[in-house]
Symmetry: C2
C-alpha cells in the first residue's frame, strides 16, 4: 500500500521504519527540510517533502503531529486526498480530535498507539516501537467498517494489540491510567517542596524506590503534562474528583484510627493491581 505519514517524529518515524520494512511505499511529510532529509537518508521513508501534494494517491494517511495540529493538518491534506483515502491520527486524546476531524473526512478513524519513550524527534525513531503495545482505534457508529478493519490489520502487522472503543471511553480510561497519575505524582513532589529546609534535606537523602516510582511521571515532561490536561480536561477533572473522594475517605480512616477499614482498602488494592499489569 501507499502510506503517507505527516509529522516525522518518534511515532511517525518509527511507523515509517516498520511499515516500509513490510514493503509498503512510505511517503513522509514534515514542516522541516532537515527532517525530510534525515528521514530519506536513514531509510524511514521512500520519499519525503514539505509539500502536502506528495500525499496524492495515498491509500492511508497517518497524521502524527501534536494534538492541536491534527485537524488543521487534515484541512490542508483534503485537496490532495482521493475519496477512498483512510485518514487516522496518533493523538493521545480522542474526543476533541474525532469531533473536529470526522466531519471533515468521513474516512477518518481516530487512533492512539500507546507506545513511546522519553526521546523525541526523527533521530529517536526505531524499529519495533509498537511491538506488544496497545493500539486503540475510536470509530464512531457511522465510521466505515472496512476502514477500521484495514487499520486494525495494520496495527497487528506492527506487532501491536488493537482495541476498538468509543472516543469517550478511551479518554476516560487514559485519564485514569495515564493522566491522573501525572497529577497525583506532581502533587507529591510539590508537597515535599513545601517542607522546611532540614526536613527537605533529610527527605532528599532518604528517598528511595518508593518515592522514585511514585514521583516519576509527576517529574516528567511539563509540555506533555499540560497538553494532556488541556485536551482531556473534562475527563481528567472527573477522575480527579473521584480521586479526591477516595483520598478523603482514606484520610478519614486514618483520622478515626479505623485501621480495619484502611487494611481492607489496601487488601482490595493489592488484589486488584495485578489486573492492570501486563503478563
Amino acid at each position: 500500500m501507499k502510506i503517507a505519514i505527516v509529522g516525522l517524529g518518534l511515532i511517525g518515524g518509527s511507523l515509517g521504519i516498520d511499515l516500509r520494512s513490510q514493503g509498503h511505499e512510505i511517503i513522509g511529510i514534515s514542516r522541516q527540510a532537515n527532517t525530510c532529509q534525515i528521514a530519506l537518508e536513514t531509510g524511514v521513508v521512500d520519499r519525503a517533502s514539505m509539500d502536502f501534494e506528495i500525499v496524492k494517491n495515498a491509500e492511508i494517511v497517518v497524521i502524527c503531529t501534536p494534538i492541536e495540529s491534527i485537524a488543521p493538518t487534515l484541512t490542508k491534506l483534503i485537496p490532495y486526498l482521493t475519496p477512498e483515502a483512510i485518514v487516522t491520527d496518533v493523538g493521545s486524546v480522542k474526543q476533541p480530535v474525532v469531533a473536529a476531524c470526522y466531519p471533515l473526512w468521513s474516512n477518518f478513524v481516530g487512533g492512539h498507539p500507546m507506545a513511546g519513550n522519553t526521546k523525541s524527534g526523527i533521530n529517536a525513531a526505531q524499529a519495533d516501537l509498537f511491538k506488544g503495545a496497545a493500539y486503540v482505534f475510536t470509530p464512531t457508529p457511522e465510521t466505515n467498517a472496512i476502514a477500521v478493519e484495514i487499520l486494525r490489520e495494520l496495527a497487528l502487522s506492527l506487532g501491536a494489540i488493537p482495541y476498538l472503543c468509543t472516543p469517550a471511553i478511551h479518554d476516560r480510561a487514559v485519564s485514569l491510567i495515564s493522566h491522573l497519575p501525572v497529577i497525583i505524582s506532581a502533587s507529591l513532589i510539590a508537597t515535599c517542596l513545601t517542607t522546611e529546609p532540614d526536613t527537605l534535606d533529610l527527605a532528599q537523602k532518604l528517598a528511595s524506590s518508593g518515592f522514585r516510582d511514585t514521583s516519576r511521571v509527576g517529574g516528567g515532561n511539563p509540555e506533555l503534562g499540560v497538553m494532556m490536561a488541556k485536551y482531556n480536561q473534562t475527563e481528567l477533572l472527573n477522575s480527579l474528583s473521584i480521586y479526591r473522594d477516595r483520598l478523603d475517605s482514606i484520610i478519614d480512616s486514618i483520622e478515626r484510627k479505623d485501621w480495619h477499614n484502611l487494611e481492607q482498602i489496601l487488601q482490595t488494592n493489592q488484589a486488584a493491581r495485578p489486573k492492570f499489569l501486563k503478563d
Copy 2:
C-alpha cells in the same frame, strides 16, 4: 564486640550475617525455636535462644521486632543488661519508639536502617543488605554521644550511610517520601476501581509503565501500610493535609485553564526531582 540481635527476620538476620563476618560475636534471640535453629545452622549467629538471659554481657543490643513490640521487648531485656549496654532498634517510625524506650534505658538510641526488600523472615536474610542504604539514628539532646558514635561506626561497617537527626524530623521526612506515597498511590488504585465496567476493562488493558510505577506502593503489603499509618499518624496526616492543598491548587489551575501555572508547577517538579534520587 558481643552484639545481641532480638528478632531474627530479614533485618535482624541480615545484620547478623554482616556483623558476624566482621568477627563480632553474634547472639540471636527469637520467639520461635525453629528460627533459632535456622539462624544457627545458616551461620547468621554464634548462639541463639528463646531466653532473654542469653544477652548477658552484650555490648550492643539491636531490637529488630515489629514496632509495637520494641518497648515491651526492652522491658524484658533490662534485667539482663549491663549498665553500659547500648540498645538500638530498627523501627521505621521513631517518635513513639524513642518516647517509650529512652525513659526505660538511657543508653537507648533510636535507629532506622532504610533497607529491605519484598521478602521477610530468617530465610530471606542476606549479606550486604545495608550496603549503600541510609541508616538514620535519632538521639535525644541527652543521649550519650559515645553510644551514638559507636552505632554510627557500626552502620559505616555495614556499608550504610549514617544520618543523625531528631525523631520528629525523621518521622516527618519518612512521612513525605515513604508513607505519603503509599496513601496517594492507594487512592489511585481505589479511584480506578470505582469506574464503570467498560472503562475499567479498557483501563486494565491500556495501563502501562506510568500506572505501574505510580500504583506500586499503593498495591503493596497491607499490614505494612496500616502499621506506618498507625505509628506515624500525626506526621502522615500533616503531610496529607499539605498534599491535599497542593492537589487542590493543581485541580484549580486545570479548572481555570491556567495552563501557564500548571506548566510552572511541572517545570519546578522536573527540576527538583533529581535531588531526591541517588546518584
